[in-house]
């Protein structure tokens, strides 16, 4: 079972070469195949996650959640998707049409790009980048632009204000997000995600870097506009925030992109802190699924338990608490590495 996918890839490239294609073109075709697989993975994940979140929140709140369509309501997501696809496409007449329409597309493209570097199993990633983790953080922070485009393109005071708040939140939390990963990079000595996974052969980084894990978790929740940090989207506040003017499938794209981001970030956390695809008995790609979903369940748990944080508390929490803590973490990690080397333990 372990080598299903790697075998599939080799068979695919061999078949193309035997058909007369040059190895370079065969590799390019393999890349396309991998991309198709990624898109399928994302779509399947989204369908499962939307249903799972509704069921789990129902479980927390002592109600049933979706339970009419299909056994345990599993077809609810499909019904909602069909409904959203058949809605009238309303674009405000005063909106900047190009920016308005491009914003959701940009958002989801960025979310999908994040999957390029995540090792989804032993030797199973789209591209083995030397600067994998840097790529992930940089591309992830581009989603701020998509939200600003949504707010600006709507030509609506409240959308713009919601977009500003969202952007302020995401920029503030990008700093501790990046800093918390520096400790991991220092210990493993590489930005390559495969190397980081390999460095966790004996001990998971969550045990060596517990503070970084917590900081990354909180910062990621804020970056995803989820959980206690969903002030920019809260209906009770500025109506729908940056997404107010979007309807139907355009609006759905934003939320699909958020779920895509959620899975990508959880997969990264599983890779960087929980040992990635390593694990006994089960195939590697199954381990990463289990660990990713474990992290996702914690994200759900946090969201459905806590109230929302106020905007000014949010900003001061990031700059005054998380950033200093992550810098302290880097200091402690550096001191620890030096100490270990001096003691001759590694």
């Amino acid at each position: 079972m372990e080598h299903w996918f790697t075998n599939l890839f080799t068979i695919f490239t061999q078949a193309l070469i035997s058909l007369g294609l040059s190895p370079v073109l065969a590799d390019a075709a393999l890349l396309v195949l991998k991309w198709i697989l990624i898109v399928i993975i994302i779509i399947v994940n989204i369908i499962i996650l939307i249903w799972l979140e509704r069921k789990i929140s129902g479980f927390f709140q002592e109600r049933l959640g979706p339970n009419r369509l299909g056994p345990f309501g599993v077809f609810q997501t499909i019904a909602d998707a069909i409904k959203l696809l058949t809605k009238e496409d309303i674009v405000p007449s005063a909106a900047d049409k190009l920016i308005f329409k491009t914003a959701p597309m940009l958002f989801i493209v960025i979310a999908v790009l994040l999957y390029t570097v995540i090792p989804l199993g032993h030797d199973m990633q789209v591209i083995d980048l030397n600067v994998g983790i840097l790529f992930f953080i940089s591309i992830g922070s581009l989603s701020t632009i998509a939200i600003l485009m949504a707010g600006w393109g709507s030509n609506n005071k409240w959308s713009l204000m919601g977009a500003f708040r969202s952007a302020a939140q995401m920029i503030s939390y990008a700093v501790p997000l990046a800093f918390s990963l520096l400790g991991v990079i220092m210990i493993s000595g590489s930005l390559n995600l495969q190397d980081i996974v390999a460095a966790q052969k004996n001990i998971w980084f969550i045990l060596l870097q517990p503070l970084a894990f917590i900081i990354y978790f909180i910062a990621a929740t804020a970056e995803l506009n989820r959980g206690p940090f969903d002030m920019p989207e809260a209906e009770q506040e500025l109506t729908g925030g940056a997404y107010t003017e979007y309807t139907g499938m355009r609006w759905a794209l934003f939320f699909l992109a958020e779920y895509t981001n959620l899975v990508a970030v959880s997969a990264l956390m599983a890779t960087v802190f929980l040992g990635g695809w390593q694990g006994p008995w089960l195939p590697s790609w199954l381990w990463i699924i289990i660990k990713t979903y474990g992290v996702i369940l914690v994200f759900f748990w946090i969201k459905w338990t806590f109230p929302r944080i106020r905007m000014d508390h949010l900003m001061s929490f990031s700059w005054k608490i998380l950033v200093p803590l992550s810098l302290i973490n880097i200091l402690l990690t550096g001191a620890g590495i030096y100490f270990f080397r001096w003691m001759g333990w590694c």
């Binding site: 927390f60 009770q236 000014d312 508390h313």
Partner: protein
């Protein structure tokens, strides 16, 4: 320095919380609120004018639609006002049943306040827990009056029917469960760090302002004034029960929240004592078919509703219909302090303050 402009943000009237059609206009300077203007009247149904064309009996269901989340309280207030006006005596058993229903309504109303505050602040699970517990009260109301929310169970002269057999055990079981409910609300919401950050020090209402603006109910008691009409101007048989009045000194949103939660416990005590003292007897006294109070008689009767002091001022001209009926609505008057407590705060605090002032627009606009 840059020259900045003030801008206005409108909250409501179509508002995703359970307060009703409340329209609040906030004038903001950046993130700080300069002023708040409250626009009312979206739910105005000219109830006071309608009262002049209905008989005293016919008007009773209209009072349930005033504070529709704690219906037995306004209906009881109205029936007691008319009984004062006409000298009708209510049998003992009916008095006790009325008190039980009124206190259950108070608990239901506070549970909605808890739920609405929860969801306004983002704790959706808190909403669900409070609503789930309130369902049991709705079942009890449905069992006695036939309706979950707007039951006209309390009538002029007593109650509409005697309590069914299952009433006492169900109410007892509910009251026994109140400590568990309060424990859950506190552990989920009150004790939470984020909750405290959003509620402590937010929307402070000073004691002298509260009295000057005629604020009543839990809002007044959260500002340090120990004033509850059940003890200060006792009506019905409240003087036979032993209960405390929760009071807090800070006057902020957290204080108003805590007072309401404690009042649920106190109401539980009253219900338990009422169940123990419940006598046998009639549930309705003989009332005339055409109720005609003395010409020129008038009454001002007020009760401690879950929102504050709910008063009825009725003037009679000797006919079967009131000449003038005025409802002293606590939500209308409590909302007067909203601009006062919001000034200088942040925008999100408007939501918190409205939620903890707990207005109900049906009563506020009549």
């Amino acid at each position: 320095m840059l020259d900045t402009d003030k801008y206005t943000v409108n909250v409501g009237p179509v508002h995703p919380s359970t307060h009703g059609g409340l329209h609040v206009e906030a004038i903001m300077d950046g993130e700080i609120i300069e002023d708040v203007i409250v626009h009312l009247g979206y739910v105005h149904r000219s109830v006071e004018k309608i009262a002049e064309s209905k008989t005293y009996y016919q008007f009773a269901p209209y009072t349930a639609r005033l504070d529709y989340l704690a219906t037995n309280l306004p209906v009881m207030g109205y029936c007691q006002a008319v009984e004062k006006l006409t000298g009708i005596q209510v049998p003992e058993r009916a008095e006790y049943i009325r008190i039980i229903m009124a206190e259950l309504s108070r608990i239901a109303s506070h549970q909605i306040a808890i739920a609405a505050t929860g969801i306004d602040l983002g704790a959706t699970t808190g909403l669900m827990y409070a609503m789930r517990d309130r369902e049991r009260i709705m079942d009890i109301f449905s069992m006695t009056g036939g309706q979950r929310l707007l039951s006209s169970y309390i009538r002029i002269g007593g109650v509409a029917a005697d309590i069914p057999d299952d009433f006492i055990p169900q109410v007892r079981a509910f009251v026994a469960d109140i400590p568990r409910m309060i424990e859950e609300y506190n552990s989920l919401m009150t004790g939470n760090e984020i909750w405290a950050a959003r509620m402590k020090g937010v929307g402070v209402l000073k004691a002298e302002d509260a009295v000057a603006y005629s604020v009543t109910g839990p809002n007044l008691r959260a500002s340090g004034i120990d004033f509850d009409l059940r003890k200060a101007d006792p009506y019905s048989i409240y003087d036979r029960f032993d209960f405390n009045i929760p009071v807090r000194q800070e006057g902020d949103s957290m204080a108003r929240w805590e007072v309401r939660i404690e009042e649920i416990a106190e109401s539980g005590k009253i219900i338990e004592q009422a169940l123990q003292q419940l006598p046998a007897g009639e549930f309705m006294s003989k009332v005339p078919k055409n109720l005609k109070p003395e010409a020129g008689a008038e009454v001002f009767h007020h009760i401690e509703s879950s929102k504050g002091e709910l008063g009825y001022y009725i003037v009679s001209d000797g006919s079967t219909k009131p000449y003038r009926l005025h409802v002293r609505a606590p939500s209308f008057i409590n909302l007067m302090v909203l601009p006062l407590i919001c000034r200088g705060g942040v925008f999100q605090d408007i939501i918190t303050n409205i939620a903890t002032l707990d207005p109900i627009l049906g009563e506020s606009d009549r």
